[in-house]
Amino acid sequence: MWKKPFNEQRAVESTPAPTQREESKSTQALIGPSITITGGLSGEEDVIIQGHVEGTVNFKKHSVTVGTHGRIKADIFAKEICVEGKLDGDLHGETRVIIRESGQVSGNILAPRVVMEDGCRFRGSVEMDPSNAASSSNEHKKTMSNLPPMAREVLKQQSTPEMEEKKVMNKN
């Protein structure tokens, strides 16, 4: 259901070096460690933030990763949010928010699913509604069940619910 970089690749990297991550996410935009942005940051592609951002981060249809070097003082709105660095602000994740072991977050999380790795630092509130997570999950299962077995296997490897839906439409 989720993009490969968030669960499969990261799951085997205990403390991945920034260069490794950059290579594996070549399709994502990167805000480097020396960059400071004050104000609004928005876009129509996935982004990794290794620099400093102060203001608002808005990538509602895409994923935002705050890298280990990232220092954010902003509210983030995104489809998926993954925090490995420091963040002071609220996280609004449409599908999921992940705080990695190295992540330090002070703020509030609003998402259907929240993952916190042991060792992360978090102070704030987490608001979850299992019915949202369930409906998102059921939608995905329904889409997957409509596919032929081989297509299901391929899609399981790396895809998002949106990608799966498009592929079903193309097939029909």
Partner: protein, 201 residues
């Protein structure tokens, strides 16, 4: 009730990780249902396991990581009060559950009174407060982390390298330190650990 794995030596827990069946917590969790929304205050550090457990319910959880914040602020000149270190929970917030875990063993009575007085403002009739205390003479030098596995099982982890003397208060003392609360369930385990579930009246 202690699982066979738990080991005690020289009057203190001598194992970094132990599985427990906490009876008071079991009483508390057995009352949870999926039909309503809960507001929970977790005074301990963030735990993925606990978030995962509560994710099965519609809830809002405030995580304080109180001990770390307290330690980080002890060196400050103005020596802020414990209550002033807590988050702003917002107007109208009422906690259904407050999880103190083993922090009562690590907070001085005056600080505890200050905390409870402050938190009482966010309690309503029926709010539950859970904590455990050690009946041991010596306790690990810092609080443990508690990971909820399911309604019946909890993992207790403490990697503190040193120990300190426990203040050894009992339920009767805590009753005085918790104005507005009354004992709902209390269990003393064979290990000497005491589980306490207090209810706000």
């Amino acid at each position: 009730m202690v699982a066979p794995k738990a080991v005690f030596k020289d009057g203190m827990i001598n194992q970094a990780q132990s599985h427990y069946n906490f009876l008071a917590l079991n009483v508390l969790f057995s009352q949870l249902n999926t039909d309503r929304k809960y507001t929970i205050l977790d005074m301990g550090p963030a735990s993925g396991a606990n978030i995962n457990f509560f994710s099965h319910y519609h809830c809002k959880i405030f995580i304080e990581d109180f001990y770390r914040v307290r330690v980080e602020n002890t060196s400050k000149k103005d020596n802020p009060s414990s209550a002033s270190l807590l988050q702003d929970y917002g107007d109208g917030t009422k906690f259904d559950i407050i999880l103190f875990w083993d922090l009562f063993d690590y907070v001085e009575p005056d600080d505890l009174k200050d905390l409870i007085r402050h938190l009482s403002k966010y309690c309503t009739k029926g709010s539950m407060l859970f904590f455990v205390t050690s009946g041991m003479e010596f306790i690990p030098n810092q609080p443990a982390s508690f990971k909820i596995i399911d309604k019946n099982n909890l993992v207790y982890e403490n990697h503190a390298p040193t120990t300190r003397k426990s203040h050894g208060y009992r339920q009767s003392v805590y009753r005085q330190l918790l104005p507005g609360f009354s004992l709902y369930r209390g269990f003393r385990m064979s290990s000497g650990m005491e589980e306490n579930l207090f209810k706000f009246d």
